[in-house]
């Protein structure tokens, strides 16, 4: 069936079942591959996108849940918070294999949009769902603090 999605400020009409995970529509139908498949059960965070600004696992979000929602992927993040986060990631060379980092960045953007100056505990809570097998966690934490400091100044 034909469904309407709002992604990165654009409206897309996709031919898919209502119970199709958003992840696969973004990747396979709309060819936006920055959002990654890691586990399919919302346990690793590689597929994180923003749904109305909130970090959301797209592998367990179904098309039927998204009526009137605005979805933002790594390809579509804009604005001071996104800029600060991405720049901090680059300044500290956070990435290794990089596969999880779109999801990490979107979770960080979601956190800093809600909590401008997060504590370590805030970061632990907000980033708990994002796995990095390369274990870049120390740098992720430092990059979030760095982005917060930049946004404050």
């Amino acid at each position: 069936m034909s469904l309407t999605l709002h992604i990165n400020g654009e409206t897309h009409s996709v031919d898919a079942e209502e119970d199709t995970p958003l992840l696969w529509v973004i990747r396979d139908d709309l060819d936006m591959t920055g959002t990654k498949f890691g586990c399919g059960v919302a346990a690793c965070g590689s597929c994180t996108v923003l749904v109305d600004g909130i970090a959301t696992r797209s592998c367990q979000t179904y098309l039927s849940d998204l009526e009137d929602s605005q979805v933002t992927t790594i390809e579509g993040i804009r604005g001071p918070v996104a800029d600060a986060v991405q720049q901090a990631w680059r300044d500290l060379d956070v990435v290794q294999c990089g596969y999880c980092q779109s999801g990490q960045i979107l979770s960080a953007v979601s956190l800093l949009s809600e909590v401008p100056k997060p504590s370590d505990a805030d970061i632990d809570a907000a980033m708990a769902g994002n796995v990095c097998r390369c274990a870049t966690y120390r740098r992720i934490r430092a990059a979030i603090h760095r982005a917060a400091a930049k946004l404050e100044s």
């Binding site: 990747r27 591959t33 346990a43 992720i140």
Partner: protein
């Protein structure tokens, strides 16, 4: 900086007027234009001045797409910003890993084997540009300078691009002069940015999982519930009529069923609807507890002695006459690699044969494996290497398992439709190729003064290499080196130290897992050293140092990192209340690493507060990447020893996704501080060596705090809780 991932891409981008520098298969420097196809280049320079470094190792996060370009840019005196990166095509002769003689990445060898080769390529290119400029200006080449991508003489300057065409007509020097290390500007720069940071933070980095070709179908395999089972009968009627379902066919070797869909979700969903009747007669049907007791039974009479220089009778005599015997038994589970990007390989037909899109770790194996399956000549299999979303060893199977699956699935469909073979996380965790299970039993004989007089170490584990193409290189007199590495060749000066090895047999495929045999050998060794120190009533650092005395290079360098880590961790100072510190030191992949882990206790649960690491990996090429690899190795190792295991019940794997194989998460670990020893020695590996000391240092810290020795892994299984 955009990463060029296509060979055709960089050749086309190069254009006719550009310069290419590389090596002939005989190892001689060669130069010309990229279009001449006389050799595969290591460096190309475009007419617009862009320098492309062709990286022969794949990028799985370890930093090789920054490291190898650093070597070229250094000798070329290029500006870091003008350096682009492309991955090498499959070409076993030109792009061989000089440590192995075949095109492959692994064993923490990328920088070590490339250090001179890539510098030579850069130096040759610089020399050609200088001579081209000298010709234009009528100057003596000795008077020409090169700085940050600009060639100059007496106030005149030209960029590399303007000189590339003229340089391409010259013959490269046989042995261009390399810089003295004191002149290094990029090598050793702690702030040199990674080349892949931009693409990996904006979603543009392309992995094999991201490939989509016109007309492509996606294939997932319905895999047997037990290792070694075979398809008896396939019933795909349940999937008929599902949206996007294309078809299902049994693989030629009956190891599984290929399920095809028009996209990923269609294939995954169809797989669930397909029924297979499995023949389990050749399958592994045991429970993992039973396998463990089978390992333990093998310790009674080792199949092989791995230290030929020691007579086990001498060890037995030392134990018989010991004032005190320290002993322990260690259990290590199967472990999955679980790279973030599940395995995936795309294959498409070309005019001559096929092209693979893969995070290709072993092109040298994959190319002939796929060629044989498809009845093609080897060179008709092209491989385009893309970023790999982690590997930790998993993408380097001697039999190219998942690429072979892609080739079979492609052939089954008729060989004309592009096929993307995708593993799900369930396939990954349940699919084998694990770090082998291992059991160790160690008995140390101490004299009255607490000195070691003998050490009887026995272990049982499945050989990784027996039956593989690498058997002849690394299995000697029955001993698989990877089973005993870091143990039988320990640099500690230990008297009457015998290592008995028994091979465990199972159809479960096993594989190198980040740092391979060191994963269990360093753990057993370094926990035993702590137990011996305790029995001797001595400080664990001082006790270790007493077995690392003398001028032996390994002992000297181990001493260096051990002292540095102890100093930086404040080892000699008091431990805060409710805190415990543990230490371990280990040599692996020619690098030396010591780590101190500090833990705290809260209501009976352990928290990792801090890790202090000291590493000696020779001359540090990319210090920040060295630190990143230490951080990563430590995290990967700690997460595994804390709580990861693959278990089987009646032959069936019990952990099929992350909730049952809980990876290290951000809250699990505090700060990691990495200190690099200055060194002028040749650079050595960093991808793996950070891992081996991490587990035993944690175990030793927990024992210092609570008195509990973690000998059964994962630690949570032995009753240790983490907060």
């Amino acid at each position: 900086m955009t990463l060029q991932t296509s060979r055709r891409g960089f050749l086309l981008a190069g254009g006719l007027s550009a310069l290419a520098v590389g090596f002939t298969p005989g190892g001689r420097l060669a130069a010309g234009t990229p279009a001449s196809h006389a050799f595969n280049p290591f460096v190309t320079i475009d007419s617009d001045g862009r320098v492309t470094v062709i990286v022969k190792h794949f990028e799985m996060g370890q930093g090789t797409s920054t490291g190898l370009p650093t070597l070229v840019a250094e000798e070329l005196d290029a500006d870091w910003e003008q350096i682009a990166v492309a991955f090498a095509p499959a070409d076993n002769r030109r792009y061989a890993n000089l440590a192995f003689g075949i095109q492959s990445t692994g064993g923490s060898t990328a920088i070590a084997n490339s250090f001179l080769q890539y510098r030579q390529a850069g130096a040759a290119a610089r020399d050609l540009l200088v001579r081209a400029a000298a010709g234009i200006w009528g100057a003596d080449p000795a008077d020409i300078t090169v700085q940050k991508g600009m060639v100059g003489h007496g106030g005149k300057t030209l960029g590399f691009g303007a000189l590339a065409a003229a340089a391409a007509g010259l013959t490269p020097a046989e042995a261009p002069r390399l810089k003295d290390p004191s002149a290094f500007r990029l090598i050793g720069d702690p702030k040199l940015p990674r080349k892949d940071s931009q693409d990996k933070t904006d979603g543009r980095a392309r992995f094999a999982m991201d490939m989509k070709l016109p007309g492509m179908v996606v294939c997932v395999l319905k895999r047997p519930p037990r290792f070694g089972a075979r398809v008896r009968q396939l019933d795909s009627s349940g999937a008929e009529g599902l949206p996007g379902f294309v078809g299902a066919k049994s693989l030629p070797d009956a190891s599984g069923v290929a399920v095809y869909g028009k996209d990923s979700w269609s294939a995954i969903r169809a797989r669930d609807a397909i029924e297979v009747d499995w023949d389990m007669t050749q399958a592994e049907n045991r429970h993992s507890d039973r396998m463990l007791s089978d390992h333990l039974a093998l310790l009674a009479a080792p199949h092989y002695q791995a230290r030929k220089q020691v007579d086990p009778a001498e060890t037995a005599a030392a134990l018989a006459g010991a004032a005190k015997v320290v002993e322990a038994e260690f259990h290590f589970p199967f472990l999955a690699h679980a790279p973030m990007e599940p395995l995936v390989c795309v294959i498409e037909p070309t005019a001559q044969g096929v092209r693979l899109y893969d995070g290709s770790q072993f092109p040298a194996n994959t190319q002939p494996t796929v060629a044989e399956l498809l009845g093609l000549e080897v060179e008709r299999v092209e491989i385009e290497t893309l970023y790999a979303g982690g590997s930790f060893g998993r993408r380097a199977t001697p039999n190219s398992d998942y690429q072979a699956e892609a080739a079979m699935a492609f052939a089954l469909l008729g060989g004309e439709t592009p096929v993307k073979l995708v593993w799900t996380r369930e396939d990954d965790l349940g699919g084998g190729y694990y770090r082998p299970m291992a059991a160790h039993r160690a008995r140390i004989a101490l004299d009255q003064d607490g000195r070691i007089r003998g050490w009887d170490h026995r272990l049982a584990t499945k050989s990784i290499l027996k039956g593989s193409p690498f058997e002849s290189f690394l299995v000697h007199d029955g001993v698989d080196h990877t089973s005993v590495e870091g143990l039988a060749d320990s640099p500690y000066a230990l008297p009457a130290f015998s290592v008995g090895l028994s091979d465990f047999e199972t159809p479960i495929p096993v594989l190198w897992w980040r740092s391979v045999g060191h994963t269990h050998n360093a753990y057993a060794m370094e926990v035993m050293m702590d137990l011996a120190a305790e029995a001797a009533g001595q400080d664990p650092v001082a006790y270790r140092l007493s077995y690392l005395e003398g001028e032996d290079k390994d002992r000297r360098r181990l001493t260096g990192v051990l002292k540095l880590a102890a100093e930086k961790a404040g080892w000699s100072g008091p431990t805060a209340p409710n805190r415990g510190r543990g230490v371990a030191v280990h040599k692996s992949f020619d690098s030396y690493v010591a780590e101190v882990v500090e833990v705290s206790g809260h209501d009976g649960a352990i928290r990792i507060e801090k890790v202090t690491c000291a590493v000696d990996c020779g001359l540090p090429v990319n210090p920040d990447i060295i630190k990143a690899q230490m951080e990563g190795g430590i995290g990967y190792g700690l997460g595994a020893v804390m709580r990861n295991e693959i278990t089987l019940s009646g032959g069936e794997v019990e952990q099929l996704n992350f909730p049952d194989y809980e990876p290290l998460r951000i809250a699990d670990i505090g700060p990691i501080e990495v200190h690099i020893l200055p060194s002028a020695e040749a650079p050595t590996g960093v991808g793996e060596p950070g891992l081996p000391p991490a587990g035993p240092a944690l175990a030793n810290a927990i024992r210092a705090l609570s008195g509990t020795t973690a000998t059964q892994l994962p630690m949570i299984k032995g009753g240790i809780a983490f907060s």
